[in-house]
């Protein structure tokens, strides 16, 4: 908690129409981490980011960016932040080079062609630097938005669904860019629908739903804590009824009767009914022939769906 670069205290936002997009959000982002904010459509992800970046005036609460109140001390707070918005918006008739240089100036930095060149090259935009934005593909436009956000060397980067509508190759490339930024000490907050993305990238994950932060957890701990494991035991012969020795285990059978499915909490493997080894021992004792075994760990996606459903 000591080294949080962003601290959000009791942030609420009610829009003019009465819709409450954020409810008392408290959140703290650690310096140098990649934080993924997950949530279904309309959960408040973009509103939260917008409130931190100054695009939305919060109804209540405070945001501290590196120790600066983002309203009262908006200059030092905002100059630390780069924002890549969700929508592909830009000045259609500008060239790539001009629009990225413009962003740097807008954020109060003196011109630095070397830095702009480095950013454009890292995003493979260098070849396109003299192209007008209107001539670029969607993926290229997305990169330009990232380049603009990086033009003023921010310490915090917000990526609002950075890989929506981006092909797989480009997505991988962007992940590499994000990792490289993190290696240079940039703190990254991304929102995403792609659970795969959060699983791949994030150090910590926050889940937001109906404007409330439902959960914030270190990624592995989250999977560990909430992840269920399943062991599927394939049998040589279908079982009509379960042998009495197996009654203590939480088992389900498939319709054909030739598979036993054993669910267990990965964190509490050794507790309760004795876990996998006890089950295998019992199977052996009951004379059930085991053909094959395989285990499956629930993904972040399963966890996410469970969470959102549970609180809906």
């Amino acid at each position: 908690m000591s080294d949080s670069i962003i601290r959000i205290d009791g942030l609420s936002k009610t829009f003019a129409g009465g819709f409450q997009a954020l409810r008392q959000v408290d959140l703290s982002i650690q310096r140098g981490e990649i934080f993924a904010l997950l949530g279904p459509n309309g959960a408040g992800k973009t509103t939260l980011i917008s409130a931190v970046c100054g695009l939305v005036s919060p109804s209540q609460g405070t945001v501290w960016v590196d120790g600066f109140d983002n309203v009262k001390a908006y200059r030092p707070a905002r100059e630390r932040i780069g924002l890549v918005p969700q929508e592909l918006t830009n000045e259609a008739f500008e060239t790539v080079w001009n629009t990225v240089s413009f962003s740097r100036g807008l954020f109060g930095k003196p011109p630095n062609p070397t830095h702009i060149e480095r950013v454009l090259k890292s995003l493979t935009l260098w070849e396109k630097r003299n192209n007008r934005l209107i001539t670029l593909s969607g993926g290229m436009k997305r990169r330009v938005l990232i380049a603009k956000a990086l033009s003023h060397e921010p310490r915090i980067l917000f990526l609002d669904e950075p890989t929506a509508g981006v092909d797989v190759a480009l997505r991988r490339e962007m992940w590499d860019v994000v990792r490289e930024l993190r290696d240079h000490g940039v703190t990254i907050i991304l929102t995403t629908h792609y659970i795969e993305e959060a699983e791949e990238m994030a150090d910590r994950i926050g889940v937001i739903n109906h404007g409330e932060i439902v959960l914030v957890e270190e990624k592995h701990a989250l999977i560990e804590k909430l992840g269920r494991k399943q062991l599927t035991v394939q049998l040589f012969e279908p079982l009509q009824t379960l042998p009495p020795g197996l009654a203590t285990f939480a088992l389900t059978q498939n319709d054909a009767g030739d598979e036993l499915i054993y669910s267990y909490e990965s964190a509490t493997q050794k507790a309760g009914d004795g876990g996998i080894s006890a089950l295998l021992g019992a199977l052996n004792k009951a004379g059930v022939g085991v053909k094959d075994l395989h285990t499956r760990q629930s993904s972040l996606e399963d966890i996410f769906v469970d969470l959102v459903k549970e609180r809906a």
Binding site: S57, Y74, P85, E91, L106, G108, K109
Partner: protein
């Protein structure tokens, strides 16, 4: 005050002007020249002198004002409306800059363009009508103050407008009538007494009158009143813009 954001906005806006040179410079110059040809050279020769100035020369300051007001408003309103419309205004709102820096950038660029246009039209006018400028320094001051003030008005309209139709509405329904009825083409003492009184509520009267004084030393209202009106209007616009950025009106939900 940080100079880099101001410069970035100013340069980007000037670049936009350069990209649309035909529409933003050539077309107003041509349309104003047509006024000179029709009212100055063709009809003007049949109209009596006003205050010792030939009609053709008399309307030059008014026409420059007409163009200055419409161009300042439309240019500045489009400059801020377009990013709002396309969504790229997110960058402006998330940047570490004050409203004053934003205004100086946008309004400065729009006003620069208007002043340059005004001078081009003045030079063009001299091709059609012989005339001298009696007080060039006052003339420039009026040109500048009016361009800045009405660019600010345009900026406000650009933020207020929800669509392209509203963007056109104010210039069409407010600015053009006020200018035509503001003494661009006549001296207000040519009006019946009642309308002379009414017309004093039109701020454009003071602009045109003051501007014309700087050319020929004749005016409908006193120079002091003209200057006071421009400055008053300027500070009202500035106050409105400050309020817009403080409350986020039509900018931030």
């Amino acid at each position: 005050m940080n100079v880099y954001p101001v410069r970035a906005i100013y340069m980007a806006e000037m670049m936009r002007t350069r990209r649309t040179l035909l529409q933003s410079v050539v077309s107003p110059v041509i349309s104003t020249s047509l006024y000179f040809v029709v009212f100055g050279a063709a009809i003007g020769s049949r109209i009596d002198e006003i205050g010792g100035v030939s009609y053709g020369a008399f309307i030059v300051p008014g026409l420059i004002m007409l163009m200055l007001l419409t161009q300042s408003v439309s240019n500045a309103s489009f400059g801020i409306f377009f990013p709002k419309f396309s969504g790229s205004i997110y960058e402006l709102l998330s940047a570490p800059i004050s409203f004053l820096e934003i205004v100086i950038g946008y309004v400065g660029a729009a006003a620069t363009k208007s002043v340059v246009l005004g001078l081009i039209i003045l030079a063009t006018a001299r091709l059609f009508v012989p005339m001298e400028v009696a007080h060039p320094a006052w003339m420039l001051l009026f040109l500048l103050l009016t361009a800045v003030t009405f660019s600010m008005l345009g900026f406000i309209i650009g933020i207020w407008a929800d669509g392209f139709d509203q963007l056109q509405l104010v210039p069409l329904l407010v600015i053009t009538p006020l200018t035509f009825l503001g003494g661009s083409f006549y001296s207000i003492d040519m009006l019946p007494p009642f309308w002379q009184g009414v017309t004093l509520f039109n701020p454009v009267v003071y602009l045109v009158s003051g501007f014309r004084w700087s050319f020929y030393g004749i005016s409908d209202v006193s120079m002091g009143a003209s200057l006071a009106m421009v400055l008053l209007f300027l500070f009202v616009c500035l106050a409105v813009i400050a309020w817009i950025f403080r409350t986020g009106y039509r900018l931030k939900p």
